[in-house]
Symmetry: C2
Subunit: 229 residues, 2 copies
DNA sequence: CCAAAAGTGTTTAATTTACACCCATGC
DNA sequence: GCATGGGTGTAAATTAAACACTTTTGG
């Protein structure tokens, strides 16, 4: 019985994370300023190397927790980037992940420690290596995914207004939506709980707060319901 | 300046290919019978290890050509599988690719050399490692992709009948489609060339042959057209 | 002449889009 | 009392779904 494929080449495997947040108006990504070579001082995605005892998901979780302090972040594997010279130091394949966090939850201290900063996705700087391509890929996936899974809520506080939700979808899809049609669509989905509570910060009248009803959603999915915006 | 990330773990990186074909009635996948350990004699996807000077796409192309004799096969990267013990011999991460070929083009000799066989996707055997999960993933991706990109044609001969095309979509989507609605939809897309030629093998009346008009399709896409079935 | 698959349109239902006014409140 | 964002419904247009008969021709 074999116990190694000894003649085969081994490579470094990195995981890079596109971390999305939403600050009530704009879709943002969290970038770090590299304090090590190569490309020291340039903006970059947060990443790290896969360790021997980890799955890719484990590595992504570890990297996300290191930077944000949050565990159990929503994330998905995106794509493997493998151009031979993509990392000038050494042959490295990188598997990109995208993650969604409630921007209010992040740990300020860690953000500072890693010289991290939130950038509007439309105003993000040039990134090292092939990280810009990873971000484009992540945005496309996010647009697709938010249209058929209720993951937008990962980017919002637990309680949110209809208008916030609409603005989120507008930011992600990069298009304006009709207020009435949007609300009708969301209400038809019947997966939100309308609270007896208003957010008074945005207007004199105040606007009702909602919560995502995950249990109800899961039950509906079992019964064949498919989310679609 | 660094020239290695020397302390980091390196891993074996494999590429496994889910190769789809269509034999006029059924969606098929091409599997090989492993003639080496571990799991010798079991059915498996065709795969191989990433070599130092290759991208993942290069590796997938090489593996596909090795088994089928065909170059420039349509393929897409699917997903990275990384369970720590997924390969009992040695830690190996595998990036799965799916590929579409015209089943008539494959090289018989190579099929024999690798003890390969086409299986109806619905009747495929148990596969080694996590290959069954890869196949499920590939089927979902194929269903999604054929609905919004005209890649179904990769599975057909250059000239095909409407009925063949419909059967292909039925096999991929795993549902029956209405003949008239299907033809109307396809004709509305306006991306096929109707030939003055009939396939007489399926009926006495014969049925017209069509070709995919790639140039016309590309031009339409430039003008904002989006394929949708 | 008949069996077998090819070919062809219309009606109905469902979904999506467009669109404008009143409401509640703090200042 | 007025400025500001919140909240609400309907009609029109588009898209999707259901549905059945005639054509062709080799045997």
């Amino acid at each position: 019985m074999l116990n190694s494929y000894s003649k085969e080449d081994k490579v470094l495997l990195a995981v890079d994370c596109i971390i999305f947040g939403f600050d009530k108006e704009e879709l943002k990504i969290l970038l770090i300023k590299r304090d090590f070579e190569p490309e020291k001082g340039k903006w970059s995605l947060m990443g790290g190397f896969l360790q021997r005892a980890e799955t890719l998901d484990d590595a992504a979780n570890r990297i996300l927790q290191t930077l944000t302090g949050i565990n159990n972040i929503y994330m998905e594997q995106l794509y493997g980037f493998s151009k031979v010279d993509r990392d000038p130091v050494e042959r490295t394949i990188s598997v990109a992940y995208f993650a969604l966090i409630n921007i209010e939850d992040h740990n300020e201290g860690l953000i500072e420690k890693y010289s991290a900063r939130w950038f509007n996705v439309k105003e993000a700087p040039e990134l090292i290596f092939d990280h810009n391509a990873m971000v484009s890929h992540a945005i496309r996936r996010l647009q697709y995914r938010t249209s058929n899974k209720p993951i937008g809520f990962e980017l919002l506080p637990e309680k949110f207004t209809m208008r916030q939700l609409q603005k989120l979808y507008e930011a992600i899809l990069n298009e304006r939506l009709d207020k009435r049609n949007f609300i009708n669509k969301i209400n038809n989905l019947d997966i939100l709980i309308k609270l007896n509570e208003k957010d008074m910060s945005s207007s004199r009248k105040g606007s009702f707060l909602y919560e995502f009803d995950k249990e109800k959603y899961d039950k509906k999915v079992e019964d064949g319901f498919t989310f679609k915006i």
